[in-house]
Subunit: 313 residues, 2 copies
Amino acid sequence: MSEFDLIRDYFRHATPARGDVLLGIGDDGALLQVPEGKQLAMSMDTLLVGRHFLSDVDPLTLGHKALAVNLSDLAAMGAQPAWAMLGISLPEDNQYWRAWLKSFMQGFAELAKQHEVQLVGGDTTRGDLSISIQVTGFVEPDKALRRDAAQVGDVVYVSGQIGDAALALLLENADAQERLDKPTPRLGLGQALAGVAHAAIDVSDGLLSDLQHICQASGVAACIHLENTPTPTRVKNYIQATANWQAVINGGDDYELLFTAPVLAQQTIKQIAQQQGIAVQAIGHIQQGSGVKIIMPDGQISEEVSSGYDHFK
Amino acid sequence: MSEFDLIRDYFRHATPARGDVLLGIGDDGALLQVPEGKQLAMSMDTLLVGRHFLSDVDPLTLGHKALAVNLSDLAAMGAQPAWAMLGISLPEDNQYWRAWLKSFMQGFAELAKQHEVQLVGGDTTRGDLSISIQVTGFVEPDKALRRDAAQVGDVVYVSGQIGDAALALLLENADAQERLDKPTPRLGLGQALAGVAHAAIDVSDGLLSDLQHICQASGVAACIHLENTPTPTRVKNYIQATANWQAVINGGDDYELLFTAPVLAQQTIKQIAQQQGIAVQAIGHIQQGSGVKIIMPDGQISEEVSSGYDHFK
């Protein structure tokens, strides 16, 4: 198997063929046509064996997740995804790794098809298993969702439910594991919120840590009611049994959208949530100052925000 | 040092601030404005320790080279570079690796400044040293240089000189080593050739292998005269002493431009070369058929083309 066979067999026709891809995999680079009047949103994430996933991870699941975490970044910008580039290194060229790559690309392609994303290039090398994915999407001018746009008085919302990904690492639960393994990038919701919400971020480091990122970037504070945070019953049970709410509420890897919007947009956001078929819950609001205050179910205020996941801490 | 400190200290202001970057490092993604009427060229390359470079490599040199090999891909498309994304993993968070990263970014930034490239995002993780870089550039519609556009009757040209990078691995020579360590992406030449040349590729796998890539993609054959290949005297001396011409002529890592153009463009190409201050040498021509024929100095024809560098062979 040469690098070129790999490209031909697994990559070139794995994903949907888009009309705006003038030249895809196989040249020095890809040639791409940007729709008139659109701006670009770009993001890039690296996943390393032993750090972001275990060596015995199901490659089908990993293929989904590697693309999903990147598309989640585009969702948090309110962008419509278009193109992906994949840098992948594999330890060996043998039957095992060919089968592995085939499964990986199957998981990648299934998600790519759902969102009409075309793989347009990348690089294949031999080395410890690692995956870098770069994605590009389109946004309407001045409508992108940014971290630095939260305003005092905004309501803080979160989509879906929080805590399953962290719970899956704490105890065995098939449903929670499924949420950890196969996160759903909230692309439709993010696009619908573009031009409506003020600030947004995807919940990867942890709900409180990511809210803190919005506050820092925007120069504001936030106050949220812990009991308003939407969690599955299994997560509620875990908190009740252990009182360790931070581990699941701020565990990260949820890939839900955390966003702020003016009070007047409340009705519009309710409609968007219904149209998208995704629960959206108001959990607090934006204030003057800095930091994230958490109002506990007993009414006490906790200002303790753990730092969430940080690769260099 | 948290991941966020790293970003702030070394990445955010390391490279030129471009007017078309609406939002750079620090959000879920970058927001970018494409100039009206331009198409995009995108490329991505991964460099791994122990495979593409040694662990004791000078980080300043590596920072230059990692960006240079990516910009070389854009040069081969005839594109004007604009934005880069960097995924980097570092083994430890300590004084040594902070200093290492600072030097790496200095080498990266020096080259970025020369070509007005802004680093707009990426990802920092902890793991075995590895570097993935994605670059985006602009091309005029229908003027990009592609591998599949060579036509029968085209003259085959190569820029600069071939063989130093391979020679540096075979024997100690400071000048050859400099060419291996700090390749010059031929961006000005590539942009000037856009709309003039037919097909182009950058010489990374090896002169003959890369010519073979053009031939395969274009459905044509090539015939080149070995003695026309421009080489420094030290490379000529090595060939004379060892007769091992393939090792240096097809050694790869030269990052010169190999391109084909119609006979009628000969004068224009001469002018472009003069304007760019880069030697451009005609080394052969494109024929019907397939494969690369090499005419040896004694007039004999060799059809032997070694496969060049292939990560999975």
